[in-house]
């Protein structure tokens, strides 16, 4: 790929800088049972975790590629070209000053330590395979809130991890969850004790720096009875002309009356495969909310899902996707109403531009014993030109006739009258587009913490510049 084509493919990607790779440990490319064992050994893991990894590796080898999403793109992934583990620092620091300078610079350019001081309850920053920095506010710690990177979580609270790990997303769920379970590294581990409300959001920041890197973080969040937590994650990678693979698994467990909100703004550069399995289980009267934004990546396949297992539980999935040139955002939501009087709201908004493609893939299930369920699904697509593509694949399995279900879908174009109106107020075409696009995503953006909302708006405005006219 020539420099120009590379730039074309990623647009004006503002996180495209990269640092020299200073790996302290780097595995050879490619995957084998030995690589899986080596990762586990390197991390000094208990035997049972090594077992889980090995089994998962075997499942990964056996399992076929998913047949949905974008099979052409999926089949381009060269698993042998991926580096499965890369350690860039000696360990996870709790003091920002102890983080290696080059890594510190990266996160400082991304605004991480400032954000922590201003509005976060805790922060973890993952660079390549492992967390390099971690902190939590003292008051949360005193209340018994556990917030660690996943590796430390396993080391320090093996009994909790053993009890819940892979119970929501089993390794065998799909090829990529099997892969993640085999080679996982990093991610967050959170436990919120009964009745504790974590008011300030806790944030994780994921950064891939190395070429051909695979990042396989694993996140497990447990909110005990009547507790609540608001977790935010952001992702970026530098711009290389070679591809990287990000394949995470996130498991949420909301006990009776608990509430978990999980917000993501994914802005990987346009050569990252982003294949993520996110699922939560909600017990009686619990709420799980996924707030999921996909702006970057080459191919994203991600369908945050909720198992409504307890009576009266509630799921909320608000997602947006932006597909520019060469990008396919295959995103959506899955909600399984497994208990009576459960409710769900799904709002999905997508924008396609410059030949990009965005797909909504949804699953709504109501089991026979789940009486009195309500669900509303709204999918809106906005097309910015005629070469772009948008499609919807909604699936409904309704086994109980008392269910009250609504489904609305719309595809719209930016109208000339809207553009003319805004331009007559002094806004260039790109600025007018930026306003319309930000307005379209507003129902999503207003759910984000302020800093993320501002950043997302700015990003979309930048996206609208250039390729117009």
């Amino acid at each position: 790929m020539s420099g120009d084509t590379a730039r074309d493919a990623v647009g004006d990607y503002q996180y495209g800088f990269h640092d020299p790779e200073n790996a302290t440990i780097r595995f050879d490319k490619g995957l084998s049972e030995q690589v899986v064992r080596d990762i586990s050994e390197l991390k000094n893991e208990p035997e049972w975790m090594t077992e889980i990894r090995i089994k998962a590796y075997r499942r990964f080898i056996e399992m076929p590629m998913p047949t949905w999403g974008n099979c052409d793109m999926l089949n381009q992934i060269d698993f042998d070209a991926v580096t499965y583990f890369l350690r860039s620092s000696k360990g996870t620091e709790n003091d920002w000053d102890d983080v290696p300078d080059d890594i510190k610079n990266t996160f400082e350019r991304l605004g991480i330590p400032e954000a922590e001081q201003k509005w976060l309850g805790g922060v973890t920053a993952q660079y390549e395979s492992e967390a390099v920095y971690h902190s939590i506010r003292e008051d949360l710690e005193e209340q018994g809130v556990l917030f660690l990177d996943m590796d430390s979580g396993l080391r320090e609270y093996p009994e909790i991890v053993k009890k819940y790990f892979a119970t929501v997303v089993p390794a065998s769920d799909n090829k990529f969850s099997a892969l993640n379970t085999a080679v996982w590294s990093g991610g967050s581990f959170i436990y919120v004790p009964k009745g504790v409300h974590v008011a300030m959001p806790v944030q994780a920041y994921f950064r891939i720096n190395a070429k051909n890197m695979g990042q396989f973080e694993r996140t497990l969040i447990i909110a005990d009875e009547g507790s609540s937590i608001n977790y935010v994650e952001g992702c970026t990678a530098p711009t290389y002309s070679t591809e990287s693979l990000h394949s995470a698994v996130v498991e949420l467990i909301a006990m009776d009356g608990a509430k978990i909100r999980y917000s993501t703004v994914q802005n990987w550069s346009a050569n990252v495969y982003n294949l993520v399995t996110k699922r939560g289980v909600a017990y009686a009267d619990a709420t799980i909310e996924w707030v999921d934004g996909n702006i970057g990546s080459k191919l994203t396949m991600k369908y945050p899902s909720v198992l409504l297992k307890g009576e009266g539980s509630h799921a909320e999935v608000i997602s947006v996707a932006y597909a520019g040139k060469g990008q396919h955002q295959d995103a959506g939501a899955k909600v399984h109403h497994l208990a009576p009087n459960t409710t769900s709201n799904i709002l999905s908004k997508s924008i396609s531009k410059n030949g990009g493609r965005s797909s909504y893939r949804g699953m709504l299930q109501v089991t026979p014993k789940a009486h009195g369920c309500r669900s509303k699904v709204v999918c809106d697509a906005l097309m910015l030109d005629s070469e772009s593509q948008s499609d919807t694949y909604p699936t409904m399995e309704v086994g109980n006739s008392s269910a009250d279900l609504e489904h609305e879908a719309s595809v719209s174009k930016v109208s000339n009258d809207q553009l003319f109106y805004l331009m007559s107020r002094g806004h260039s075409e790109a600025e007018a587009m930026g306003m319309i696009v930000n307005g379209f995503f507003e129902p999503f953006t207003r759910e984000l913490p302020m800093e993320y909302a501002v950043e997302l708006n700015r990003l979309l405005e930048l996206e609208m510049e250039g390729a117009i006219g």
Binding site: S415, N416, D417, Q418, F420, Y421, L422, M423, S424, R425, G426, H427, S428, E429, E431, A432, M435, I436, N438, G439, F440, F441, E442, P443
Partner: protein
């Protein structure tokens, strides 16, 4: 003769191959208020849109100049920044974009370096909203989204006051306004009029009781067929348009 703000000369305009404006000339000077009246479909909005640069319309002959500069090469937003303003007959709604944000951005685009500081802007905005009897809650609503007819027109006038144009094209801004609103809109127009050229498109004499036009033009089938003083408006209201037809 004062300074020319708008000069239209021998204008012909088509949309999708159909000619709508069929030879129209008009000159507006600073400080002048012109009214255009005419039947539905006569081409009044087309004229206003074409002057502002709507891309759907094709100018097949003639010229339009703003302050002596030919508008042919000027983009819509450049016209706005140069001091032209159109109050729409049917303002578009922009879901998700809050009025407050939109106004602030518009003011900084149009007024550029001389845009007020955040604090002065706020002061200015509050002053105008008070005079237009607009509640502060408008600022957090989405632009024209779910607005009543009269609310949309007030928002148009609010924008006009903030952007302070030297040419204001007001397309049926009086339609759908209640009596109080008509008065505040008229006050708004009168406040910018001495420093600007105004073109009022209207069906009713009642606005012209509050805003005294220097000229009234009658438009029929894409042409100006009669130009008179303010009294012509009253005559039209009484007699209709038939008597003017060739």
């Amino acid at each position: 003769m004062g300074d020319e703000v708008l000069s239209i000369d021998g204008l012909h305009v088509s949309v999708d191959g159909t000619e709508i404006i069929k030879g129209l000339s008009l000159t507006i000077n600073i400080g002048e208020i012109h009214a255009i009246m005419g039947r539905n479909g006569a081409g009044k909005s087309t004229l206003a849109n074409v002057v502002m640069g709507h891309p759907a319309y094709e100018i097949t002959a003639g010229t339009i100049a703003f302050k002596g500069v030919d508008l042919d090469e000027m983009e819509v937003f450049e016209r706005a920044r140069a001091g032209m303003f159109l109050s729409f007959q049917y303002p578009a709604s922009i879901p998700g974009v809050q009025v407050g944000t939109f106004l602030r951005k518009s003011v900084s685009s149009v007024r550029g370096n001389s845009a007020p500081s955040a604090r002065d802007f706020r002061k200015e905005l509050m002053g105008h909203m008070d005079s237009l009897n607009m509640d502060k809650s408008f600022l957090s609503r989405y632009v024209n989204d779910g607005f009543s007819g009269g609310e949309k027109k007030r928002l148009e006038i609010l924008q006009m006051l903030l952007l302070n144009p030297s040419l204001a094209l007001l397309d049926e801004t009086d339609s759908g306004l209640d009596i109080d609103a008509l008065r505040v809109v008229a006050d708004g127009i009168n406040s910018i009029a001495p420093e600007a050229g105004c073109l009022l498109i209207t069906h009713y004499q009642r606005l012209l009781e509050h805003v005294k036009p220097d000229f009234v033009h009658v438009m029929i089938d894409g042409r100006i067929v009669r130009t008179g003083s303010a009294e012509l408006a009253g005559e039209l209201e009484a007699k209709g348009y038939d008597w003017l037809e060739a």
